[in-house]
Symmetry: D2
Subunit: 317 residues, 4 copies
């Protein structure tokens, strides 16, 4: 059994990680730390866990574990790392953005870096939009075919975390839609870095318009760029690229977000329009975009089948 | 023109009041006060007002007005009244619950107290659930036919105001439903007082289960009690009771909340089941349940046609 | 491996059953029949299944199976049974309402009839509202303490199936709420029958107001009745009743629907108000209220651990 | 009083038109025709109208009117025109797309064609997405500055009408998002025609990705293109262009759909990113995108103040 510790278990990604690990056949949860909720039962904060676990949030951590998940806010991971000396036997999976651009860590997108993840000690888990965009564009970059890309995407509210804000107030967000950080989303740096891992000379813009959706879970990304391949060739390239990646499927049908909600899957769809290749991708932002991908990385780091504990019943509706 | 001042104009009911008064043919808005937003344009806080009004929130009030609307949180009205000496020529319409049980004020439900509202100087505007429940039950009490009543009701999120809370966080409330303050809702005192105005010997429980709905506007109330009348007689009684009240209609069709959203209307529907008379009512919690009713009261207090400025296009969808 | 056939696999409960059985460790899906979709891949109709199963809907059935699930509309099961001679070695789990009142079948609520389910050949799977209401009231009836009950409940739209109707049109239902079949819901007959299994002299009304919610999954039921027990005693009775039932938990916290969505769980909460004992319950209408309970019944009928294949990651948000 | 007839009054745009005209001070509704609902009261089909109008849908039309609104499905208007000889004294406002490209009719976008609308006998009312996109781009074309544009937009479900379809089923659409007709939306022809009215040499693509939103009312459009102007100049150009158009405001704040829902307004916002000028616009698809614009056109055609009957209280929440 893999002994697991979680730092920052009271938030959305921490809770989602506990939900996954409780049903993981090779994992034992040793502790779940939370500053704000120490002493409370997990099912007090995550009430859906009632009946599944009686564990209490701890104030402290211990290193009698095999792997430590960092589920804190951005900035808190680097602070944590600077304040703790993590023993060599403890692997770290960090869900924050703090080290995603750090060449000393492994960027934890299995569809890009599976081998290096398998031997990594510290994995920086990708961002949610970053995951959806990369899975839409990696096969192009892999073939050196990436050009200027026009991207729009829409995300559920859980991507914004549990701290209340104006744009997560129900009376504001319900039946509403808006954009934010157009052309300037913080995930684009990690996207660009990954794409240049395959196509180092890439120097074109990735124009990205992120929309706030009035739903809680899921991301839909639409990207298009000029492409000289016929559609059939593009589809062949994408299928080939993803053939050994169990969570990504090239779909021949129109996509919608609920096809993958509550799963670790990513569906990708390709169409051609007036010379533009359009690629869409859908993921669950909390699973393939966060905690599910973290477990996928853990599986790879510990030599387990990649899908262990991640064959999830989708929400569908 | 009626000169109007508004205290607490940055909240939901204050904003809604401004939306109504801007289109009211007999009103001039003199000032809109807000402690938190003083100096800001109204359309900065209520961005839908862009293009309609260039007024700025004021820090202070003045009494060169005919009527003052108090749109502050509960408790703040009584504090305001204790701190200010309001001139005799200024009528007050108070949307808080602070004076709804005060016999020195007039309880501003026009379908109960139209005549006393017409001559009132200080009107305590009813609560939203209180309005919907009273409009469902007043004709029974008027006929001395009120018995123990079983009530369930569901409200939109704007009833909870703009301050964020766990239960107005989008990620929590979206696609969710729950109850709160079962058997113990703060509006039941004013409901009981009104019903006893007609049926003073009434001493039975009003059992009320309030639900939080995952929508922003609207209230649906379902009430039932034993009733010896045949259905046709009940319908006749209700139609007679509401015949001179332009905002209440007895509907022969099943009700849903969106039939009245964005209007000042109340629809009431009656059916009979195994000896129980079931009464349903629907209102918009911010209009007939708050700011719309406040304007209706203003119209009555100033001798205007009751519906002036309140013939609103419904949202319908 | 239990060999499974499904009749009517293109609908909501059929699709949900496939989702569950695909991850069930002791099941092999032999065929999924659908008249309307015969020849189509399952993932064409249920697109979320892409990547999980390549099976095609069949026009016909065969009886080289151990258990047959009937997922057809109400009325179609009895027609099916009258037209087919089901071999003795094939057990049937029928999700329709056709035989729920039939004394020759076993009513498949494990929290009421676990032993008879274990030896049953034909299980009539309970209705969704019926499940939520019974789980709220069974411990009272078990103790002979059931009295007249006042019940309100709210259900997601998937309970109405995939056939379009006015009340499942998005433009109508979104941000809307309404009631239907007040005092006259078709599930109350099976509820009454079950309660009288424990308390045969029960002859009081079960007054039930069903609401249509503007969400897709989940049911919340609120019931209250006079009760002479103190609250602590009621809680003790309920905990004792459910102690050997792994899917039902007595919660000390306020309930909301999303605590159980996408799980087979039922949470029950008890409070006391002015002599009324109030009981709330929440389930996922498609899981504990339909396909999940069907799998639970299958587990019992085949001697498996009751929770096999049903430890589902909840949706939570 | 302008005497009005409506053909096709049972649908969404027909109902919305009735809602508007009931409160219009210079209009008398003579008849509302509907094939499917002839003989029914308007408030049976549009239940929110209860208490406002007792009119019945007629099977037939008469020409004792001043203006006829055609609110039928696409294709039905041209069929209607070919089958009826409309007297010269009857002006027509056609909400379908049948004649929007017809040079013998006037394309009814007041912000483009105000003068020709004022003298028109037959106005082809623009499409909803077409309106939002044109209001975002017209000032650029007016200055000959239009280049290849990248556009994404998201629309409420009422744009798809009241006929049920898979993508308007609540269980599918709720909490879901998807695209449709990417690069191929039927409104782009009218958009292109209008833009070329100002900039005849324009021959670049207008790349448009339309999203289906999980809300009922509203459209948000995001467009960007290279632009050599500094942002301040772009804002100046837009403000100048719209200075005499009362329903369009250039907003300095981020836009969201609910800022204009239930109004006839359009808000436009401009920002600059890496050489791209980004323009966003928001409208209510049923008002500025359909029936509200139809009334605006009527006002112009009959010499009324353009905003008559269109100063609507916004929904805001």
């Amino acid at each position: 059994m893999i002994k697991v510790g979680i730092i920052g278990g009271a938030g959305y990604t921490g809770g989602e990680l506990v939900r996954l690990l409780l049903n993981h056949p090779s994992v034992e949860i040793i502790f779940v730390q939370s500053r704000s909720q120490a002493g409370e039962k997990l099912h007090t904060v995550h009430p859906d866990l009632l009946g599944e676990i009686e564990l209490t949030f701890s104030a402290d951590l211990n290193f009698q574990i095999d792997v430590l998940f960092l589920c804190m806010g951005h900035g808190a991971s680097s602070e944590f790392i600077s304040q703790h000396s993590i023993p060599a036997h403890v692997k770290v999976i960090d869900l924050s953005q703090d080290f995603r651009l750090d060449n000393d860590k492994v960027y934890g997108l299995p569809e890009l870096n599976k081998e290096s993840i398998q031997s990594a000690n510290y994995v920086a888990n990708p961002g949610c939009f970053a995951t959806a965009i990369q899975l839409a564009l990696l096969p192009l970059a892999h073939n050196g075919a990436l050009k200027e890309v026009h991207i729009s995407g829409i995300t559920g509210s859980t991507g914004a975390g549990f701290q209340p804000s104006q744009t997560t107030h129900f009376s504001w967000r319900d039946s509403n839609v808006s954009t934010y950080k157009a052309f300037n989303h913080q995930h684009m740096a990690e996207v660009t870095k990954s794409l240049m891992q395959y196509q180092p000379w890439f120097d074109q813009p990735l124009n990205f318009i992120p929309y706030r959706g009035n739903f809680t879970r899921g991301i839909l990304v639409t990207a298009y760029q000029y492409c000289e391949w016929p559609l059939a060739e593009a589809i062949r390239v994408y299928k080939e690229y993803y053939q050994d990646h169990p969570f990504v499927s090239v779909s021949e049908r129109p996509l919608d977000v609920k096809q993958v909600v509550n799963t670790n899957k990513c569906f990708v769809n390709l169409t051609m329009h007036n010379g533009y290749l359009m690629i869409q991708s859908v993921i669950d932002n909390l699973l393939k975009g966060a905690s599910g991908q973290a477990v996928q990385n853990m599986n790879l780091m510990f030599g387990l089948e990649e899908t262990t504990g991640l064959k999830l019943k989708g929400g569908a509706f």
